[in-house]
Amino acid sequence: MEIAISLLKAFCVGGLICVVGQILLDYTKLTPARILVGFVVLGVFLGTIGIYKPVVEFAGAGATVPLTGFGYLLSEGVSQAVKTQGLVGILKGGLCAGAAGISAAILFGILVALIFKPKKK
């Protein structure tokens, strides 16, 4: 039962964040690339001012899987790094926190390019 509730929470919050993206896509001239950039920057901003953390605690992956969650991860990383390493943490924290996701995307991108042939559309 507890599992079902957390899945439902993740579904609703994640779905709502995606609907915000869809509203921007349908009602503004923003391209998907700009929306992605906007969501990450928004995630960093909301993470910094401390609004996003309770959302993550409530919805789990529903808040961390959308790209705002990636922004939140960067802001959490940088605030931890500043605490433990001081000034140098400002430069290290963000990318260190995002490193696993970025490296994974690069690795799988290269592997897919090696294994698959592009499909004709």
Partner: protein, 151 residues
């Protein structure tokens, strides 16, 4: 046909098939929600194996990126994206697809100037502005810490 630019613009707007919102919004909600629930299910499964919260988050992202990469390779992802709209590109799957899809498409231009440079065509700006934002965020944290506050 005599027509001013304005009239022509209106005509184009009228004729071009817009995606009806009663379709796009529920689909974005449904598909985005489903992707997030899959992530949540993975997170619950991983945390049941005594993994720390941080590790769980990283592995959830990595697994979702892997699934997206495979689906992109098989040409399935863009079929889902066609009706999922923002539901597929707002989650981390969209970031993964933005890396893998051009990597695959620009194979013909070689592995240096094709695959590896084109793979950042959308991910690049995301990383650049994400990093800049995190530097700004870190600077604020640093100043607050110096002033003796806590964030």
């Amino acid at each position: 046909m005599n027509m001013s630019y304005k009239e022509y613009g209106q005509l184009v707007k009228k004729m071009s098939p817009g995606s009806p919102i009663y379709k796009t919004f529920p689909l974005a909600f449904l598909i985005g929600g489903t992707i997030c629930s899959v992530g949540e299910a993975l997170r619950l499964w991983l945390s049941s194996m005594n993994m720390s919260k941080e590790e769980c988050g990283i592995w959830v992202s990595v697994i979702l990126i892997f699934i997206t990469a495979v689906l992109t390779g098989f040409g399935v992802f863009h079929k889902i994206a066609k009706f999922g709209g923002a539901g597929t590109f707002v989650p981390i799957t969209g970031f993964a697809n933005a890396v893998v899809s051009p990597a695959l498409e620009f194979q013909t231009e070689g592995f240096i100037l094709g695959v590896s440079s084109k793979m950042f065509i959308i991910a690049g700006p995301v990383i650049v502005y994400g990093t800049i934002a995190s530097i700004a965020s870190g600077t604020i944290c640093y100043i607050i810490n110096c002033l003796g506050g806590n964030i």
